[in-house]
């Protein structure tokens, strides 16, 4: 809704905005945030937070880059990236749950630091390593019918996770754990494993994000994904999920990610000065969320008034 308003407003302000190539750019630019936000969304559904996603993504690209140097094989490199991402996620989940930590903030902050350190340590020359198998370049940088391939990746990941969250027992458990953890224990749900699983999936999403970003840049870098944790959490929250858990829809997280992408793109197109961009991004995000709040509020009002007249 708000996204549509935003898009209309921007297209009036800058004619370049609606050019197909620019729309493709936006999708490609938002793809990484969107993919990682899907995992973050699951974590937030269970009242958690995953601060390590950005560093995890960087580490995954570096591991992928190292594997590429051993074997120029797209599938192998992808598996390496996914494994790296999933492993970091597993560490998050296992330490949090079985270490009985009071909140995942600490462990994911720690893996943020550790994964970033490992990425720098492992990267050849401690810096960007150029080169990626052609399959990965195709996925991250290529386009089909003018639509960036990364869009299809976002779509695929979203569909898969949506299917798992909506159609599978596991998805129901996630909502239950987020809704009332003590009750979930009482009902015999394997709460610990559900929690571990969402961190693993968040890590895997970071791995997928690594594939897309590495493909787009045809490189691996220990510096990738800086502040990605804030972007993805913002996307999820803009999309309407609650830190109190158990509420929210993956589609909304995607909308949030695209919204962030659209705002950044528009500010670039409008040639807004850097400092002012920072100010504008902050203001627009708040306004967008605020508009949504007001809209819900008004809708509820109108509904009460209408049903009042009807009865």
């Amino acid at each position: 809704m708000i996204l549509i308003l935003l898009v209309v407003g921007i297209s009036l302000a800058t004619p370049n905005f609606l050019k197909p190539v620019n729309l493709g750019n936006i999708l490609a630019q938002s793809a990484v945030i969107a993919i990682v936000a899907i995992g973050q969304h699951l974590v937030i559904l269970t009242r958690g937070i995953d601060l390590s996603v950005g560093a995890n993504l960087a580490l995954a690209t570096v591991i992928g880059g190292l594997v590429y140097r051993l074997a120029d094989s797209g599938p192998l490199v992808m598996i390496a990236m996914l494994t790296a991402g999933g492993l970091v996620g597993a560490v998050n989940g296992i330490v949090y749950v079985f270490g009985r930590l009071p909140h995942p903030f600490i462990i994911t902050l720690a893996t943020l630091s550790i994964a970033r350190g490992l990425a720098l340590e492992f990267a050849i020359g401690h810096t960007t390593m150029r080169g990626m198998p052609s399959e990965i370049a195709f996925i991250g940088g290529g386009a089909t019918f003018g639509i960036p391939n990364s869009f299809f990746v976002v779509f695929g990941v979203a569909a898969l996770v949506l299917l798992m969250a909506r159609a599978m027992v596991w998805g129901r458990w996630i909502y239950a754990v987020g809704g009332k953890p003590e009750a979930a224990v009482q009902m015999g749900i394997p709460v610990k494993w559900v929690l571990v699983s969402v961190y693993v999936i968040s890590g895997l999403c970071a791995g997928v994000g690594a594939i897309v970003l590495a493909g787009r840049t045809e490189a691996a870098s220990p510096l990738y994904g800086n502040l990605l944790e804030l972007d993805t959490i913002a996307a999820v929250i803009i999309g309407g999920a609650s830190f109190l858990g158990g509420r929210g829809h993956i589609g909304h997280a995607l909308v949030g990610a695209v919204m962030i992408g659209v705002i950044r793109n528009a500010l670039n197109l409008l040639n807004v000065d850097v400092f002012f961009q920072m100010i504008a991004i902050g203001a627009i995000i708040v306004l967008a969320v605020e508009a949504d709040v007001l809209r819900n509020h008004l809708e509820a009002r109108v509904r009460v008034m209408q049903s009042g007249r009807a009865s």
């Binding site: 159609a167 599978m168 027992v169 596991w170 998805g171 129901r172 458990w173 909502y175 239950a176 987020g178 809704g179 009332k180 003590e182 009750a183 979930a184 224990v185 009482q186 009902m187 015999g188 749900i189 394997p190 494993w193 559900v194 699983s197 158990g246 509420r247």
Partner: protein, 255 residues
């Protein structure tokens, strides 16, 4: 009524001990429950009734004593173990998920799903079947819900309690424990729940009922166990006649 005291107990608790830091909540409590019998668990506030229930249902671990199911000493490590051993519980705090609908609450942790060769978490939900069956149970209990597809967050206290009780009835197989199931219920709903308890008993379950309502005890219970400050202070067969004796057991000598 139909209980055969001679039959072996389906559930037996022996010398249960439980401490919370400095609080000694259960001091060597023993009890036995038989199939086809309603056992009332009585006691004043803080007597340890809920604690005992939670120890049996696997929420708390016992600090001492043991639990036998069908004569077999059984360690109940967690609620999942209790549920799969056939013990269903209606908790005093209801254990409802505010963000889920009544049907989703019903089957939470016990979802109908397929295919069965997959690990449980990865199976696909049979939503339709769950919705229908949950609706049927709710219907049977004559609970009026404003909407069946809305989260339970905004339902009234009684509606919530009715949902929690209904949930336990769906899965009851051996032992059903109800911790003050009628506390928030209106007259009609309370009656339905009592009928349901009778039905659970007639289906051969051992029912453990915690309540402060003496009328309900006299009406339904085959036996009553009374706790006071974590200790078992008596066990008798409740009737209109000995209701006063029961009350003085509960509140202690001074009353």
């Amino acid at each position: 009524m139909t209980a055969a005291a001679s039959a072996s107990p389906v559930l037996a608790v022996r010398n249960a001990e439980k401490r919370f830091g400095a609080v000694h909540a259960l001091k060597g409590v023993s009890l036995e429950a038989y199939r086809g019998e309603v056992l009332a668990l009585l006691g004043d506030n803080g007597a340890g009734k809920s604690t005992l229930v939670k120890c049996i249902s696997g929420v708390h671990g016992l600090d001492g004593g043991e639990i036998e199911l069908d004569g077999q000493r059984t360690a109940i490590h967690n609620p999942a173990a209790a549920r799969s051993a056939g013990i269903e519980t209606v908790y005093q705090d209801l254990a409802l998920f505010d963000n889920l609908t009544p049907a989703q609450n019903f089957y939470c942790g016990r979802e109908l799903s397929f295919p069965s060769w997959l690990p449980r978490g990865m199976r696909l939900l049979r939503r339709r079947a769950m919705d229908q069956e949950a609706a049927a149970v709710i219907e049977r209990l004559k609970v009026r819900l404003p909407r069946f597809d809305a989260p339970v967050a905004l339902m009234s206290g009684g509606q919530r309690q009715a949902i929690a009780v209904a949930r336990a009835t769906v899965f009851a197989r051996k032992v059903v424990m109800l911790d003050e199931p009628t506390a928030a219920l209106g007259l009609r709903e309370a009656r339905k729940v009592l009928d349901l308890i009778a039905q659970l008993r007639d289906e051969g379950n051992a029912v453990i009922l915690i309540t402060h309502n003496m009328e309900h005890v006299v009406e339904l219970a085959d036996r009553a166990v009374v706790l006071r400050q974590g200790r078992k202070v008596g066990e008798l067969k409740p009737s209109k006649a000995n209701q006063h004796e029961l009350v003085s057991l509960i509140v202690g000598a001074e009353a």
